[in-house]
């Protein structure tokens, strides 16, 4: 069904004059906002672009009054890839491509169940390319960093969290009290806890829970915690999807002679995941933003790298530039994703059923 055609509109000037006449108070408020914008915008433009310094090796290169983006450009390699060996940066690019290629099938309009298996394989492959896996020269996770790490943690953790989240959501809707109880307890405890405390636990407490002789590096420990954290949130998104599948669908499938598992796999889950997709994407956006927290346990993601930069004597006092840059990078990704998620919500809505 196509939306009704909008009424032909009057020219903008006419509408504005009408609005002014009808609602003088609104017009005054609008004028105030416009004046404020006209006052702020040029100053902001001057600071961020016109009077800004773009290159330089120390703070001495910065001009007064404008932003000094040299703090970012002089360290672009760290900002992108942390302290990864200089001659092996191609591996970072390759790993990023593998990750994106692994996620792409999940984002297609009709996701096949196969993508749920190939995506984790892609994450492991990306890990292998970065780490070396015995084939390439070894680069332990201590050397990883920069924006690549935010991508790796965000995408990698989500990919592993999705199947776990689906399982937890199914467990939560189970009629078996033990299964349901365990899943509810896990989901509610995780969702009630701040991520930062769980990350501290991964850094400080987790080594106490691994047997003597077995050590996991800090990034792996943090990854495991983030996967469990994200799984609990994805479980709630999937649960919403499961609740949105009409009961008649299950009854019809059972009436056609499908057993319980086939009903679940071929009838309920495809519809539930379709309904849950926008919520899952939003949950991913949240996780991606949260990856900037990882620096509190000493992992040098994009925030950690720039935080180190601003404590460097050569760059002191440029906190605003450093963090505004990170905010802008994340804004581009998250805004794009949220737009895409909103359009997905419209396209994926099941015809004839209001959300």
């Amino acid at each position: 069904m196509s939306p009704p055609r909008p009424r032909p509109r009057q020219p903008l000037a006419q509408r504005m004059i009408d609005a002014l006449r009808r609602r003088p108070l609104d017009a005054a408020a609008a004028l105030a906002v416009l004046i404020m914008a006209a006052w702020i915008a040029p100053g902001l433009m001057r600071w961020a672009i016109i009077d800004a310094t773009w290159t330089g090796e120390t703070k001495a290169a910065c001009t007064e009054g404008g932003a000094c983006w040299a703090i970012v450009t002089s360290r672009w390699r760290q900002v992108l890839a942390g302290f990864y060996p200089k001659d092996h940066l191609w591996r970072v690019a390759a790993a990023a491509l593998v990750l994106l290629a692994g996620v792409a099938p999940l984002l297609r309009r009709r996701t096949s169940g196969l993508a749920l298996a190939t995506a984790p394989a892609a994450v492991l492959l990306a890990y292998g390319v970065m780490e070396g896996a015995g084939v390439l020269p070894r680069a332990p996770t201590d050397y990883w960093g920069g924006f690549f790490l935010n991508l790796f943690i965000g995408l990698g953790a989500s990919i592993f969290a999705l199947p776990l989240g689906i399982a937890l959501a199914l467990g939560r809707t189970s009629r078996l009290p033990v299964v349901k109880g365990l899943c509810v307890a896990f989901i509610e405890v995780i969702r009630g806890s701040p991520l930062i405390v769980l990350l501290f636990a991964a850094a400080v407490v987790a080594p106490l829970f691994t047997p003597a002789g077995m050590t996991l590096d800090k990034l792996t420990r943090a990854m495991i915690v983030i996967i469990l954290f994200e799984a609990a949130y994805m479980a709630e998104a999937v649960r919403g999807g499961l609740a949105g599948v009409p009961a008649g669908q299950v009854e019809a499938a059972r009436a056609l002679g499908l057993d319980r598992w086939r009903t679940l796999v071929f009838v309920v889950l495809p519809q539930a995941l379709r309904i849950a997709t926008p919520a899952l994407v939003n949950s991913f956006i949240g996780l991606f933003k949260d990856t900037t927290l990882i620096y509190v346990i000493g992992v040098l993601d994009i925030t950690g790298v720039l935080r180190n930069a601003v404590t460097d004597f050569a760059w002191q006092g440029l906190e605003t530039e450093a963090y505004v840059f990170v905010a802008a990078v994340f804004w581009v990704f998250c805004f794009g994703l949220s737009r895409w998620s909103a359009s997905l919500e419209r396209r994926l809505s099941i015809p004839g059923k209001s959300a």
Binding site: A19, R23, D26, A27, A29, A30, V33, L34, A37, R175, L176, P177, V178, V179, L182, E188, V189, R191, G192, S193, P194, L195, I196, V197, F200, A201, V204, V205, P207, L208, F209, T210, P211, A212, I285, K289, D290, T291, T292, L293, V296, T303, R307, E319, T320, Y323, V324, V326, A327, F330, W331, C334, F335, S338
Partner: protein, 379 residues
């Protein structure tokens, strides 16, 4: 909805699955506990909760209750928990105000208002909160020094050492905090009830007014006077001083959560059928009455559950205080106490118990409220 019968019956297979899962869960927990105990013993580390009684030995920059370094770690927990709750309460109030304004503006007729609100919402929701916090902190510490303070009238001053506000001097700050926290909880419950419950309106209004008068009276008894900040040689004295860490934390929590609340408010208002407002207008209700008696009560039913979940997010996000050095529960107990005692499992465990307990209590309250509302919802 299918209701499970009182006595559920399971097939043999289902019983086996449950037994296996229960056994696996117990086994995993037991194995983890055993490993941890063995590791602790091997490293000669202490365990147990005796450390709570020991003196903490460190200063805390801000406290609502009397605190001294000779006080125990248990007291540190209390100081931190009160700091967390107070910053969360202030953030919730501020974020709700900003969020409601922005949410209403996004549905305004004026293009400019809609545009400004959209820009705000998209920036607030699509940038990471830790980064917003760092930007706010950088901006506040870049404010002029006290001798060149930015002043609003002769009462509010912003310097790189924080914000100075006029304040009420009270008999006991901790009790005032308890009172405000309690009043916030009881007050919001009363408002929800008054707006959405059915029954005798006059009776309800009477209870509501009574509660407000009683609250103000109790608060009035505790107030001793008004204190204005004034310049001294090196800074300011008197009034309320909001330190840069607290100010940036509040600003970031408010800015970020306000964006999410704006979307909830917009969605809630959009969920009310337009015919409802038109019908109310046709019956001769004024625009204000229409909103108060018809639109808002219906929107609130949709908005309350996601709002509470945003409030809980704000509470959890207040733990980012560590980033700027505000002494919240995570920073003082999960940070300094942990470092002093080395008992990571116990300290972080208690911190998690605090957050999970608050979250479960609040979400249980809102769930039972919204279940009651659903019974009355119009289909």
């Amino acid at each position: 909805m299918r209701r499970p019968s009182k006595r559920a019956s399971f097939t043999k297979g289902e019983l086996i699955i449950q037994a296996v899962m229960l056994a696996a869960a117990v086994l995993v927990i037991w194995a983890l506990a055993a490993t941890a105990l063995a590791n602790l013993r091997a490293r000669g580390m202490a365990s147990g909760f005796e450390f709570l009684e020991r003196p903490a030995g460190f200063q805390i920059a801000q406290s609502w209750i009397a605190y001294d370094p000779v006080d125990s770690h248990a007291r540190v927990f209390l100081v931190g928990a009160l700091n967390t709750l107070s910053v969360a309460a202030a953030g919730i109030v501020l974020a709700t105000v900003i969020g409601v304004v922005a949410g209403v503006a996004r549905r305004a007729r004026s293009l400019v208002a809609r545009g400004a609100a959209s820009v705000y919402v998209e920036v607030a929701r699509n940038t990471p909160l830790p980064i917003q916090l760092l930007v706010w902190y950088a901006l506040i510490t870049a404010a002029p020094p006290p001798r060149a303070a930015l002043a609003l009238g002769d009462a509010i001053f912003l310097t790189n050492r924080g914000l100075h506000l006029p304040s009420l001097t009270t008999a006991a700050p901790a009790w005032v905090l308890f009172f405000i926290l309690g009043a916030l909880g009881v007050g919001s419950a009363l408002v929800l009830w008054a707006l959405t419950a059915r029954g005798a309106t006059r009776h309800r209004r009477f209870v509501l007014k009574g509660a407000v008068v009683l609250g103000l009276a109790i608060l009035g008894l505790a107030i001793r006077g008004v204190s204005l900040p004034h310049r001294t040689g090196f800074g300011f004295e008197g009034g309320l001083e909001v330190s840069p860490p607290l100010l940036s934390l509040l600003a970031a929590l408010t800015f970020y959560t306000g964006g999410y609340i704006a979307e909830i408010v917009r969605g809630g208002l959009a969920s009310v059928d337009r015919g409802q407002g038109e019908a109310a207008a046709a019956l001769g209700l004024s625009p204000l009455q229409t909103v108060r008696l018809v639109t808002l009560p219906q929107a609130l039913r949709v908005m309350a559950p996601p709002m509470v979940s945003q409030y809980l997010n704000l509470l959890k996000n207040s733990s980012l205080a560590v980033v700027v050095g505000y002494p919240d529960l995570v920073a003082v107990f999960g940070g300094t106490s942990l470092n002093q005692t080395g008992q990571a499992i116990e300290t972080l465990g208690l911190v998690l118990v605090f957050f999970v307990a608050v979250s479960l209590t609040l979400s249980w309250a809102v769930n039972s409220w919204s279940r009651r509302q659903q019974r009355w919802s119009v289909r």
